[in-house]
């Protein structure tokens, strides 16, 4: 009989189990092992409940679908103990933005009950960069809440992290060190630290601050290259946008781009013109291409001509070619105050009819799939009839980058040199 040996190695099992005939015990053990091998480890009921609840939350979808089930499931998740946090954070991997929000609120409730967390499993989660960036950032915040000095040390290793927010804080930490070095008079050290921080920076405000700091110390930066702005375009216009109808109108460039062609514009034949910007943030200004006629030539405002501020109620198109070595996922990031449409390789990516409400770098983030080789980007930019001082802009800025804002290689190249000729997009 080998009962005593088993009892030594499995003391938690009930005593009466070991009184069973040895052969039966061995058979039962083998049966259990077989079941485990076939069906995997059977989670305890609490874990099963958590898994089911996480599944319900991850199932939420558009227009409130899944909300009722998720509401019940949220109570289960939020009631979990702190040991479940890594599992809940893992559930954010691949979750849609709504589900991620549900999970964040549940984490908040758990943490409120457990102000002192064990940082070890959270650090392990943070170290695995395959997890969702937001979940890793959350794990970092939880570590910081439990062990601030440890989080501070961790930050130094997150300078090139795939989480934009973690990277932001790491860059801020290095910037602070550089500023201290500047104050101490160790300029060369400061410059090196600023340059390292600049290379890692993806946050636009940080990029601007670092560029100023580097230049202040005599260094050089290339902002268009760093951010991947597309600087070289060809433009054509103006076309009619009286009453805003031009936004929906399909003018010839939307059916195909022939850079050598002549088209019927608003006031007569129009042709494509080279349009290159030198603005450090890639601002492409359409207004200088089409100066308004002198006041004497204007028959009436209804004809759509502008005054000093530029043309009004007009449409222009700009096109460029973006050469992607490998193709793959990317983001087109656009800033503009004008109504716009954008096409990639002839496919409409997005459109928005809003005029002069505001403009910023990366105002619109548009996920796209680039093809290997040349990619044609066509943008339609509409100007409306408003004649307020803040409605003169007819411009845009566009960059191509990855999901955290890192300029893709071809974007860097395009920022420096004219693009190859753009061919017909259809």
């Amino acid at each position: 009989m080998n009962g005593p040996d088993l009892r030594l190695s499995r003391p938690a099992l009930p005593v009466r189990f070991w009184r069973l005939p040895g052969l039966l015990a061995i058979c039962l053990c083998m049966l259990c092992m077989l079941c485990m091998a076939i069906e995997g480890w059977a989670a305890p009921p609490a874990e099963q409940g958590l898994e089911t609840a996480l599944e319900a939350i991850r199932a939420v979808d558009h227009e409130g679908r899944g909300n009722v089930a998720a509401g019940a499931a949220w109570n289960v998740v939020a009631a979990a103990d702190a040991q479940a946090l890594p599992r809940i954070l893992t559930a954010m991997d691949g979750a849609n933005p709504l589900a991620a929000g549900w999970l964040l609120a549940a984490v908040d409730q758990i943490v409120a009950r457990h102000p002192r967390l064990d940082p070890e499993p959270l650090c392990a989660f943070l170290a695995d960069t395959s997890h969702a960036p937001r979940a890793r950032r959350l794990a970092f915040d939880l570590v910081a809440g439990s062990d601030g000095p440890r989080a501070e040390k961790l930050l130094a290793g997150l300078l090139n992290d795939p989480s934009v927010e973690l990277r932001h804080d790491a860059v801020a930490q290095l910037m602070a060190q550089a500023e201290q070095a500047t104050a101490a008079g160790t300029t060369s050290v400061a410059l090196q630290q600023f340059q390292t921080a600049f290379a890692a920076a993806r946050d636009i405000a940080q990029v601007k601050a670092l560029a100023a700091a580097i230049r202040g110390l005599g260094g050089e930066v290339d902002l268009p290259q760093h951010l991947g702005f597309l600087m070289h375009w060809q433009a054509i216009g103006p076309f009619d946008n009286t009453g805003g109808k031009g936004f929906a109108a399909e003018y010839p460039p939307e059916r195909g781009v022939d850079l050598s062609g002549t088209l019927a514009g608003q006031g007569g034949p129009v042709q494509w013109q080279v349009l290159t910007t030198r603005d450090e943030f890639g601002m492409v200004d359409i207004n200088p291409l089409y100066p308004p006629p002198a006041p004497a030539e204007v028959a009436s405002p209804a004809e759509g001509a502008g005054g000093k501020e530029g043309l009004k109620e007009v449409v222009a198109y700009a096109v460029t070619s973006y050469d992607s070595p490998q193709g793959g996922p990317a983001e087109l990031r656009l800033g503009t105050k004008n109504a716009w449409k954008i096409w990639l390789n002839g496919q409409l990516v997005f459109e928005r009819e809003e005029y002069h409400r505001g403009m910023d770098v990366d105002q619109y983030r548009l996920p796209v799939a680039l093809k290997p080789g040349p990619n044609t980007i066509l943008i339609k930019l509409c100007q409306d009839a408003q004649r307020k001082p803040w409605t003169t802009e007819w411009q845009f800025q566009l960059r191509v980058c990855d999901s955290i804002g890192t300029a893709l290689p071809a974007g860097r190249q395009q920022a420096q040199a004219p693009p190859p000729a753009v061919e017909n997009i259809r």
């Binding site: 949220w74 991620a100 929000g101 549900w102 964040l104 409400r357 910023d360 105002q363």
Partner: protein, 401 residues
């Protein structure tokens, strides 16, 4: 018109009493209070404000210009934080002590870009007494119970990707009868939604005029919601969004209307007073006065008077029955917050945090006290249980006797 005056004279006292009682001295459930007119119970707020009346002041984890709401002894405030302002906070404080009872966050699913003066936490939340509903400029909507349990979450821009305003959205939601009215009017994909408060799913979604709009819906009668936009006002059914009546005389897109005693006072060509007519597609226009011209702050109605702060920071009092101007008083502005009034005094706080208490007479108004809070205040105050709550981008203050 005669019948209107007769009704006013007979019912004003009754309605006044009813509203003050119904306003529940202990609750402030939405933007501009229980009845949406910024009316507060008479005599409960301190006229003399000072450091001694500062009961407590607590820090907030993020920016915001949404007003506080108060229910069940709890004060709720929204805020936004993060490098891109995409962490949306809902905070619950003990009204008595200012202690943080709970805090929950979700991530924004819509665009968070907005003008530097505003923030993602711009709309004031609302409550039906059992749940709190918070809308953000990113057009995310959350529903929590008063204990902090998340009941549902919606991303309106996630659902309809062109719902946004690059200057920021600011209209506050309204809840009544199991429907949460969520206004998301903008230049592009412009809607108003009625969400089922139990599930967050659409009960209805109606197209709205394309154009930026920061006004908030108001209840304009039993189960009727008035939606104000540049073209005027559309009254729709609370339960189904079906049209009831429309006023096409134009309206402002920042200060909101006010419904009081069966009359809708609209910031339109100054102020226009409208009364719905049974089975008619158009309301009756009772009066219109361009001598009352609200700027950013919304209208205030208290007793037999109507008050507005114009763009030049002048407080104007008018006759509620006729629109006739009573008096004007220049205050120290600029103002973003809508004042509150108990009919005897009016509390107006400017953007620099200077609270100005005005005694409201028939023939004149007089500043009787001021108190410099020393904090930028853009949010409209909340009033409950004899206290006034003011929030800035960084703090929540409670002032009381």
């Amino acid at each position: 018109m005669n019948s209107f005056f007769l009704r006013c004279s007979l019912l004003t006292g009754l309605v006044w009493t009813f509203l003050v009682v119904a306003s529940g001295a202990e609750e402030w459930p939405a933007f501009r209070g229980p009845n949406g007119s910024s009316l507060v119970p008479a005599g409960v707020l301190p006229v003399e404000l000072s450091e001694a009346t500062q009961q407590w002041s607590v820090s907030l984890p993020g920016r915001g210009l949404s007003g506080a709401v108060v229910v069940d002894g709890k004060v709720f405030v929204t805020a936004s934080a993060g490098t891109s302002q995409d962490r949306l906070h809902l905070l619950c404080f003990d009204a008595q002590t200012g202690k943080l009872l709970w805090e929950r966050r979700v991530w924004a699913t819509g665009r968070t870009m907005c003008h530097s003066k505003t923030s993602v936490a711009a709309p004031t939340p609302c409550t039906d007494g059992s749940h709190i509903y918070a809308l953000f400029s990113s057009n995310d909507v959350v529903c929590f119970d008063l204990q902090g349990r998340l009941c549902w979450l919606r991303g309106i821009t996630h659902d309809y990707p062109n719902v946004s305003n690059s200057l920021g959205m600011a209209s506050s939601p309204l809840v009544s009868g199991g429907t949460l009215v969520v206004p998301v009017e903008n230049d592009s994909e412009s809607y108003c939604l009625g969400l089922d408060t139990a599930s967050g799913e659409n009960r209805w979604r109606i197209d709205r005029p394309k154009g930026a709009n920061w006004t908030s819906p108001v209840l304009a009668g039993p189960a009727v919601v008035a939606l104000q936009s540049r073209g005027g006002v559309d009254a729709v059914g609370l339960a189904d969004g079906a049209p009831k009546w429309s006023f096409s005389g134009g309206a402002d897109t920042i200060p909101s209307s006010c419904f009081f005693d069966g009359v809708l006072y609209v910031p339109s060509n100054g102020v226009t007073a409208l009364e719905a007519v049974a089975n008619e597609a158009k309301p009756r226009e009772l009066w219109q006065s361009n001598r009352l011209a609200p700027g950013t702050a919304s209208l205030v109605v208290a007793g037999d008077a109507i008050y507005c702060l114009n763009k030049a920071d002048v407080l104007t009092a008018g006759e509620r029955a006729t629109g006739e101007r009573r008096w004007q008083l220049r205050l120290q502005g600029p103002f973003s917050a809508t004042p509150v009034s108990d009919g005897q005094h009016l509390w107006a706080v400017n953007e620099a945090g200077l609270v100005q208490v005005v005694e409201l007479g028939k023939k004149e108004g007089k500043i009787v006290s001021t108190f410099d809070l020393g904090d930028e205040i853009l949010a409209s105050p909340a009033v409950a249980d004899g206290a006034i709550y003011l929030r800035s981008n960084s703090r929540l203050h409670k002032l009381a006797r």
